[in-house]
């Protein structure tokens, strides 16, 4: 994966995952004959597509699912990959863009709430590494939490990347031939990039005020069985 040179802030970047590894988050939620299969993982879009079917077959075999799942899984992955590839080659955003990422997820018995800033132009970022350190620092033992956090980050980044492509296209259409202010927030909806001037300007300190610490402090809760059951029932209702 080539990392753009330092001058890239001025120029729009071609669409990709704004992380060091260009991995696409894939979420599967398939229900066939009362059997529901939910999964989330990342996929390398440069892998050959034949891998997708192989992966589907193996997953079905491993999880002892009905064979009907194979095609469903493969199709779902393929379509999500196709989505991703449709944006490739397009300009993403120009200028610096730091966005808040919010985590609010439950993995088995662990409830994680967190908020932090993510630089979309930092192509050294590594959500998986971040999640690993998070789990280590917070002493989370459930091995599924780390990947879930990384996936959540990736999903949000992916979302924002798509929005940026769209907004970049729009802004290009609206202000044709004119270079806009680099540091002005590009986004119109959805991803609310932080105000860089306000945060990093010469007058402000990058040390947060104490009252804001709570907002950005990670919260990890271990739920009891009853709470988990209640939450799952609630989610089930929402799904229907």
């Amino acid at each position: 994966m080539k990392t753009p040179a330092s001058g890239f802030y001025r120029n729009p970047v071609k669409f990709r995952m704004p992380t060091s590894e260009n991995l696409v988050p894939i979420r599967l939620d398939i229900e066939i004959d009362g059997q529901r299969y939910k999964d989330a993982f990342t996929w390398n879009p440069t892998d050959p597509d034949s891998e997708v079917v192989l992966f589907a077959k193996r997953t079905v075999k491993d999880l002892k699912l009905p064979p009907a799942f194979v095609t469903q899984i493969a199709q779902s992955i393929q379509s999500q990959l196709a989505d991703f590839r449709s944006y490739e080659g397009q300009d993403m955003y120009a200028g610096e863009k730091i966005i808040p990422i919010k985590l609010d997820l439950r993995v088995n018995h662990t409830l994680v709430k967190d908020q932090f800033l993510w630089d979309l132009n930092n192509f050294e970022s590594d959500p998986e590494e971040f999640a690993r350190i998070f789990c280590k620092d917070m002493a989370i033992e459930d091995p599924e939490v780390g990947p879930a956090i990384a996936f959540a980050i990736r999903e949000q980044l992916y979302e924002i990347a798509i929005q940026s492509v769209v907004s970049a296209r729009e802004s290009r259409l609206s202000k044709k031939g004119r270079r806009g202010a680099e540091y002005a927030p590009v986004s119109k909806g959805g991803a609310v990039a932080v105000d860089l001037v306000k945060l990093f300007g010469p007058k402000s300190s990058v040390v947060r005020k104490r009252k804001e610490w709570d907002v950005y402090e990670p919260i990890v809760d271990l739920l009891s069985n009853e709470e988990v059951d209640a939450l799952e029932a609630k989610e089930e209702r929402n799904f229907r």
Partner: protein, 568 residues
Amino acid sequence: MELSKDPNSNPGRTEDSDSELELYTIPSSSRWFAWDEIHETERTTLREFFDGTSMSRSPKIYKEYRDFVINKYREDPTRKLLFTDVRKSLVGDVTLLRKVFTALEGWGLINYGATSGDTDAEGCGGGAEDEGWRVRVEEGAPNGIRVVATPNSLKPITLPRGATTKDGSGPSSGFSSDCVKLPPLASYSDVYGDLMKQKQKEMNCGFCGDKIDSGHYRSSKDNFMICAKCFTNKNYGDNRSAEDFTLTVSSENSGEQGAVWTEGETLLLLESVMKHGDNWDLVAQSVQTKSKLDCISKLIELPFGELMLGSAHRNGNSNSVNGYVNNVKQVQSSSSSSNHQETSKAQDQSHDLTNENEQNGDAVEESPSKRQRVAPLSDTSSSLLMQVGLIASVVDPHITAAAADAATMALCDENLCPREIFDVEEDYALSVNSANNSARAHGDEGVEMKSSNQSEIDARGQKDGIPLTLRVRAAIATALGAAAARAKLLADQEDREVELLVATIIDAQVKKLQHKVRHFDDLELLMEKEHAEIEELKDSILTERIDVLRRTFRSGITRRKDYSYVKS
């Protein structure tokens, strides 16, 4: 604490600087760290803050990040600071924050004491210095935790395999007797002689550890020995090949109880040592019946063996006749030469071989220095004959002769029956005296030696039936006499030398005087010549003056005018 630790809020922190300064431990590799500046290391590691391309990454922001993280850690240095604790308080990209955090941790500016668990050092040094925010660096690890190499960690590399006995890898201590280097002390052989013999008995194979019975192979590289069995099995040990090994067949009896040496063998050994020096391979070759090791140990066992070694080069051509007399004579000569060796060592540490070779053979020709005579008696040798020789060389030859006489007399008094036998001895002593006389007369070493030898041989020839103890005593007396003779000779030699030197000096002085005289003669001649010239000049001036006067008179100038001229 909180207040003063925040560098942004401390422009006026003067009154509390002393009390707030604490000692933190950071690795000495990070001593560049200073609160008020950003070091080159930081610039290169975290380049993105310093290339000015981004608003969210500037040196100022980096410094704020850094200072905050370090201060956060130092609120409680015993606790490991977690990235997750830090990032909630800092605005910025978490990946970037993570990078800063990792770098600081890598430099040891945070989480250094916490990981090593050694935090007691802080605060104990007191902070009387007014260096502001500079951080003091503790050099290296404290003594208590310094890592020391294990005692024999280097041994397997530098020493042959035999030395690694601690590993239990096979070779036993028996092998080490091989590489024992004898210190240059004669007493060593006396004290450890038996031990050496013992060790030698249990000579073991360097590879399998079995006892070596008759034949073994020895590596020419490092004296590593293996038994014949191992050699045939190609177990050569590390770094050695078959070419390095030479077969050494020790004689049968050497395996049993050291080595039993016949007199002939000893003689052969001494001769070959004198001929070859410490080239033990050649020595062992000429002794034939004994191995190299046997030869060495035998020579060490001999009371004068090491001196022999030292003087072997010089005594090359003085090999002669039969057993006992020969030994005595060697002692004599070696005593004097070893004395000389000692003095030369004392005079300057570098005594070179060429010098020794110059002294080749007849040590008589070189004059002994004064210091030789005061060489301490106690440390030269343990051998009685040596002592005798030394004493003889210390005292006056006349005294020595008298002592020899007295000794023989006392011997005779002590034991009346061999008095007749010792008449011969007295004859001998006389002959020594006569030899002294002749030496005084002729100053010829050869004659003296021959005559003393002759008398010794005579004495011996007539004493064939005499018991051993008497023979020993006779030999002692002989030694005394011979030593005295030699001492006399040396003294004479020195006298001659002094005479010669004095003559040379006088000669030189005379020459000098002559030169001076000749110089003065030359000067005189020169003076005379000059004198003659001056006289001539005087004459010519006189005539000229007369001439002038005559001319004035003739031209008729009045005398008055002349006077007036003179007056004015």
